[in-house]
Amino acid sequence: MAQLSMRDAVNQALHQEMARDSRVIVLGEDVSGGAGGTSNEREASGGIFGVTKGLLPRFGAERVIDTPISESAIVGAAAGAALAGLRPVAEIMFADFVGVCMDQIYNQIAKFRYMFGGKSACPVVIRTAMGAGMNMGAQHSQTIYALLTAIPGLKIVVPSNAHDAKGLMIQAIRDDDPVVFFEHKALYPRKMEVPEDPYTIAFGEANLVREGDAATVVALGRMVTFAEKALDALAKEGIYCDLIDPRTTSPLDEETILESVENTGRLVVVDESPPRCSVAADIAAIVASRGFESLRAPVGLVTAPHAPIPFSPALERAWVPGPQAIEAAVRKVLGG
């Protein structure tokens, strides 16, 4: 099996779905190439992160559309195209820019199917890059999936690795509901074995990444890789934990989390977001209200502080929850 980075795994998913289904189109800023390359070839880079590389020469400018810098126009055009029968994959370059097109997302695409009594569908995928740790400042580093998870009518995907990203992206494109797909920038270069053939991963199905009965750790996106590091360190002392990667925050695989906590009695939630109204707080609330009798310790939350993301590299490193904080939180719920 080929080793693919998450960047290339998403790229492969886009190539395969565009080849399979002529209704699939891609639109966004610089999706055809761009990124300040010096070759003057439009398809040179495939966007600033290279995720849409090679789509323009293969599928043409009618299906790979560079847009003006207007997120509202990008999502609005995608919404209209979806209502008209296409399957658009719109790119918002940074998740932070979702604020600019919020009405299109939460009041339009999220509502169509419901308000038209199920007679229409709006199969839009919004791809967007998120995450801190790359010294990109407060307006280009946020993980705002909690904001969109709160909106009924949207499906929210937060992959933690290349394998899942490919299967989840193909599922997102084939899904009849609007999907927002958050790609963590720090995970783009990370490689793993990814099957060549297309495959789907169902939404609302968590992945059990590590197993053990000492505690349950739930982590999302890049935090899964940090939780793996923390749990590997604890495993050397004989402390084994369930590590659950929900993969989608809406639908959320509440059952797997509750079932695991039923076994372990202890929960730590890791989220690269400020704590208030976060997915971490949401999961803690679900377990507190529906699994309280299983809990043998207060739920441990490992989150960023309630502060914007600093530009200073040293401060940014302190802002991002790291493996040490996760390890400490697990020890704390174990009574250490």
């Binding site: 789907t200 991963i201 169902a202 939404f203 793996e228 590299p313």
Partner: protein
């Protein structure tokens, strides 16, 4: 003033740069903004400008070398700064690695990748349980979201499976309300009351003889226990500390001894109460206990007939056991456990003799009853029995 010249970060994913060529020499004066160096990344070649005005005092990376973003490549300072200070600055420079800590270039393969949208949905915890139990999940009909198989579904399915051939056959009995009450009250008593026991042996020969006389005269069957209930009631009259309830931080002592008798019934332990047992004759007590025990076994006792005892007696002598101890029935503060009356060899006036002996074990609540009080009660009770 000393200024560091560091490898710039020109792109989102730029982690390092190659020094193409210095356009300024070491020792040269430069003004802020002057081009001093060309750096090449994997995307572009660009000029690095002097961050301040001064003399390019030291170059720490030569053309052709690769340096990470944030690394020191030169030092700018004016003439007043000594060479030693420049060297010290270089040695102390820690730089700022602007890049994120590498997450590890290679990820591990997902443990349960699959979950293809078209396949049967199974929670990973349910799948793990099914594997542990050796159950094929495809046999289980899921009741969860999207017909998904939950941990509960696996547990329910496992319960329906025929037990393994060498398994011990089981019968599961749901606790009756009575059993559940007994369980709760006794667990509570054992957990919260500081029990201790004192024990005494009594010669029941005379009591047994009296019982036989009574039984012969009456049409009622009189047991040794009926006689003992009467004796205990008389002894309690002299030791009111044991004829009591503990209610919160108050000890309630009762004038009458209302003695609860432990009766085994098919539904569990029932304790009918003989009111004012000291004022009743052993024959009366025998009739009352016989009648109430019969109704207890039918479940026909009234609530008030089993409530508000002030002291309890439990007798397992009919099974031939010599001694045992009992758990206090709160809010009472003591319970007497009575073993079988047996002919035993005892020492009398320095010689072995045969006597009809009885062992009495009193469990008491130390919060209310001190050891000396319990001992004194048992001594009195022995006198009652032996006279």
């Amino acid at each position: 003033m000393i200024h560091a010249v560091t490898m710039p970060k020109w792109g989102i994913e730029m982690t390092e740069g190659t020094l193409n060529a210095w356009t300024a020499r070491e020792g040269q004066s430069v003004r802020k903004g002057d081009p001093i160096l060309e750096v090449e990344t994997d995307k572009i070649v660009n000029t690095v400008e002097a961050p301040a005005t001064g003399i390019l005092r030291r170059i720490t990376a030569v053309a052709g070398e690769v340096r990470p973003v944030g690394a020191l490549i030169a030092v700018l300072a004016d003439e007043s700064v000594s060479d030693a200070d420049v060297t010290g600055f270089i040695e102390a420079f820690q730089g700022a690695s602007v890049m994120f800590e590498p997450d590890g270039a290679i990820g591990s393969a997902p443990s349960a990748g699959g979950a293809d949208a078209s396949e049967q949905r199974v929670s990973p915890i349910a799948r793990r349980l099914a594997e542990k139990l050796g159950i094929d999940v495809s046999q289980i009909r899921g009741t969860g979201r999207n017909g998904r198989v939950s941990k509960e579904d696996v547990e329910a399915y496992a319960a329906t499976l025929a037990p393994a051939p060498n398994a011990n056959p089981q019968t599961r009995i749901k606790m009756s309300a009575t059993r559940a009450t007994i369980a709760r009250r006794l667990a509570d008593s054992k957990a919260t009351i500081p029990h201790y026991r004192v024990e005494i042996e009594a010669d029941a020969g005379k009591l047994q003889a009296r019982r036989k006389r009574l039984a012969a005269d009456a049409d009622t069957r009189v047991s040794l226990n009926d006689m003992l209930v009467h004796c205990a009631a008389l002894a309690l009259g002299q030791h009111p500390q044991l004829n009591a309830h503990l209610e919160g931080d108050e000890i309630v002592q009762f004038a009458r001894a209302d003695i609860a008798i432990a009766v085994a019934t098919p539904a569990g332990l029932i304790t009918p109460v003989v009111r004012d047992a000291a004022a009743k004759s052993p024959l009366e007590i025998a009739r009352i206990i016989a009648e109430m025990s019969e109704r207890a076994r039918r479940g026909a006792l009234l609530r008030e007939e089993i409530s508000d005892g002030t002291f309890s007696i439990s007798n397992l002598g009919m099974y031939g056991l010599t001694r045992f101890d009992a758990i206090i029935n709160p809010p009472q503060v003591a319970i007497l456990a009575v073993g079988a009356a047996q002919d035993r060899v005892v020492v009398r006036n320095g010689a072995p003799a045969i006597a009809h002996m009885l062992t009495l074990t009193l469990s008491a609540d130390h919060r209310v009853v001190d050891g000396a009080v319990a001992a004194a009660f048992l001594a009195t009770l022995r006198e009652q029995i032996e006279e």
